[in-house]
């Protein structure tokens, strides 16, 4: 039986529907990320679980008990906010022990759990500092310790790392995951950073427009996106708007080019599909005179040095493709070189597109 259950949650603000029926089941000790761009409803959902907002329809259950009408200060959940949530007039220690103080624990009873937690988050040396004396990363650690001090049933995190520097972000997310695993606490994590979500979660739910587009393990989300939005949102993906020409053999046609895609077998002819190829699956070689099978012919448009890997952008036949290859190999294909990009027939995935639909969703680049 699931530990935390979000059952058919709806929330509207006036005419704007923020959540259009969300269903989530979390096992005890599970770490689920709600991932999506701004406005997709993920924070709304989290706030409903915390109790700062009431759903228009649906229920929230913990261990089978309906908490939907319970006020936030009685839900026994710990929340870490994005920023500014530490009480400025209290030291780190006083912040962390606040929940215990409210629960009537005496000073003696409070001391050890608080000290232990502050040590757990790595701040034993700064316990008597005030929030304005702490860096952003340190403040969030205190916030985490404070949320954990009350031994909550569920841990809720609302984009806790968004306001921090990149390096601190990576470091802190590892620690959050480590602590979560050590304590075995059920966790709901909201973020718009897909790399973050994929790195630390047991499961990821991608949200868009108030609904969950897809939910699964990070690996599933990455290798087998189920909708065009998820394909676009997670990682970088080459997307080819194509039409099935021969469903028996798995042949599709894109911009006049015939391609063999195994995933297209069994589809009906004429169906409009999206062929998805990860950049690392695309094989680039210098163009030969003959036309290699299942390949695009084009030339190198740009090279972006990313360390061990170089991202090579290829343009041809009216299409742009992105290929990731080792920097050493990329050196042999400078800008302007004529190349042939081979599409692995088994490596490509397929998503159906509505026949006359609006096409691919346009995303704000800042949402990645």
């Amino acid at each position: 039986m699931s530990y935390l259950q979000l059952e058919n949650l709806h929330r509207s603000f006036g005419s704007f529907q923020a959540l259009k029926g969300i269903n989530i089941d979390l096992e005890q000790g599970e770490f689920l990320s709600l991932l999506g761009p701004s406005g997709c409803g993920k924070t709304t959902a989290l706030r409903l679980v915390a109790g700062f907002d009431q759903p228009n329809a649906g229920r929230i259950l913990v261990e089978g008990k309906d908490l939907t009408r319970v006020p936030p200060n009685k839900r026994d959940m710990g929340m870490v906010f994005q920023a500014y949530s530490l009480f400025p007039n209290m030291t780190a220690r006083q912040n962390v022990e606040f929940g215990l103080k409210i629960r009537g624990k005496s000073k003696g009873d409070r001391a050890k759990p608080v000290d232990d937690l502050l040590e757990l988050v790595g701040l034993a040396h700064a316990v008597d500092r005030y929030p304005h004396q702490l860096s952003g990363g340190m403040q969030q650690r205190v916030a985490l310790a404070r949320a954990l001090a009350i031994e909550p049933r569920v841990l809720l995190l609302d984009e806790p790392l968004s306001a921090l520097d990149a390096k601190v972000r990576v470091q802190l997310r590892e620690e959050i995951r480590r602590i979560q695993l050590e304590l075995g606490i059920t966790t709901l994590y909201v973020t718009h950073d897909q790399e973050e979500a994929l790195a630390i979660s047991d499961h990821v739910a991608v949200m868009y427009g108030g609904v969950i587009e897809q939910m699964g393990t990070p690996a599933e989300m990455y290798t087998a996106p189920a909708t065009p939005f998820v394909a676009e949102f997670i990682g970088t993906m080459n997307r080819l708007d194509s039409k099935v020409t021969d469903g028996a053999t798995g042949e599709v046609e894109h911009s006049g080019l015939r391609l063999q895609v195994d995933a297209a077998k069994g589809r009906r002819n004429g169906e409009r599909v999206l062929v998805l190829i990860r950049p690392e699956s695309l094989e680039l070689e210098a163009a030969t005179n003959g036309s290699a099978p299942n390949s695009f012919q084009g030339e190198v448009l740009t090279q972006t040095f990313l360390g061990p890997v170089t991202r090579v952008k290829v343009t041809g036949s009216g299409t742009n493709l992105i290929a990731d290859m080792s920097t050493a190999r990329a050196a042999a294909l400078p800008v302007g070189a004529r190349v042939s990009a081979k599409i692995p027939s088994e490596g490509a995935k397929l998503i159906s597109l509505p026949d006359d639909g609006p096409g691919l969703p346009v995303l704000d680049p800042d949402d990645h």
Binding site: N73, S85, G99, A143
Partner: protein
């Protein structure tokens, strides 16, 4: 030398230009002394029209009619009716500061908090800006028109058979209570204007975090809200105190015989009782002492309440 895969150009050398050739430093020094001179008019003005007169008052307090040094005027301050005037001023200032501060905070919070429609906050802000300046003579009349013997409210109660001055609350406009009620008219808006930024600064996240950790409303206020607001509250309170203490026009217009220090000082110059100019100066000096004492109480309190602040 070329490193594999990269091209390196010829080395670039830089040299700081010798100081003699850098015009901005040389003229910068010259210009700074010019700048000092250019601020002289300002200092001359403030010294002439603020510090010298203030100093003259302080000095004059210790002189007698023949300009000899004496404490006699100061000693006189501790006798009736002067000491009563000081207590009256202090009483009025404290009461209006306390009531204005507390009620002002409630009103400001009511307007700024989450659930209230935005237009209420703008309206309150605009009105407060105006009302805080609606003091002195016009305000006095407005209160006479409201609660004076023929005032609208007084007459309304009387026509219902209830005489406000003889029955509870035994209210007379031309009394200390009356002055206090009138003073509140500019004290409250002043408080609202001054405390609003501090209330704005109460982040929603603190309220929610407290609630999330199990705190009820009053617990949030007790442990977070009030402590965070306290430094600003104290500052506003002192401002209100000083504002009421210095006020002259309103009290003058309502009741020229009101026994507060500014009226007493004015009495000399409007040709009433006092014939000793140095006494007026001593009274003024006394005001200054009271204000200084208040600051002495306030500063350590403030520092303690803001221990945690930047």
């Amino acid at each position: 030398m070329a490193v594999e895969g990269r091209r390196v150009g010829p080395p670039i050398t830089t040299q700081a230009a010798p100081e003699a050739l850098r015009p901005d430093i040389v003229s910068g020094r010259k210009r700074r002394s010019l700048a000092w001179i250019a601020t002289l008019p300002f200092f001359a003005y403030t010294i002439a029209f603020l510090f010298v007169p203030a100093g003259a008052v302080m000095l004059g307090a210790f002189q007698d009619k023949h300009d000899h040094a004496t404490f006699s005027n100061i000693r006189l301050l501790f006798h009736h009716p002067y000491i009563d005037a000081y207590w009256g001023s202090i009483r009025i200032s404290l009461i209006t500061a306390v009531i204005g501060a507390i009620f002002g905070m409630f009103v400001a919070y009511a307007a700024i908090r989450e659930g209230t429609p935005r237009w209420i906050r703008s309206a309150l802000s605009t009105f407060s800006g105006v009302a805080a300046n609606f003091g002195g003579i016009p305000l006095a009349f407005a209160f006479i028109a409201t609660l004076g013997p023929l005032g609208v409210v007084t007459v309304w109660f009387r026509s219902s058979g209830y005489d406000l001055s003889t029955k509870w609350p035994h209210f007379q406009l031309f009394s200390e209570r009356g002055i206090e009620l009138a003073y509140l008219y500019f004290q409250l808006p002043l408080m609202i204007l001054v405390i609003a930024p501090a209330i704005d600064g109460l982040k929603r996240e603190w309220r929610e975090a407290a609630s999330n950790l199990g705190a009820k409303g009053w617990q949030f206020w007790r442990y977070v809200g009030i402590p965070v607001l306290m430094p600003s509250f104290l500052g506003a309170f002192i401002l209100l105190f000083g504002n009421a203490f210095a006020a002259y026009a309103t009290a003058y217009s309502i009741n020229q015989g009101q026994n507060i220090v500014p009226i007493l000082i004015g009495a000399y110059y409007t040709g009433n009782v006092l014939d000793n100019p140095h006494l007026a100066q001593a009274l003024a000096f006394g005001m200054f002492v009271v204000l200084a004492l208040m600051m002495l109480i306030y500063i350590p309190l403030q520092r303690r309440s803001a221990r945690w602040a930047k």
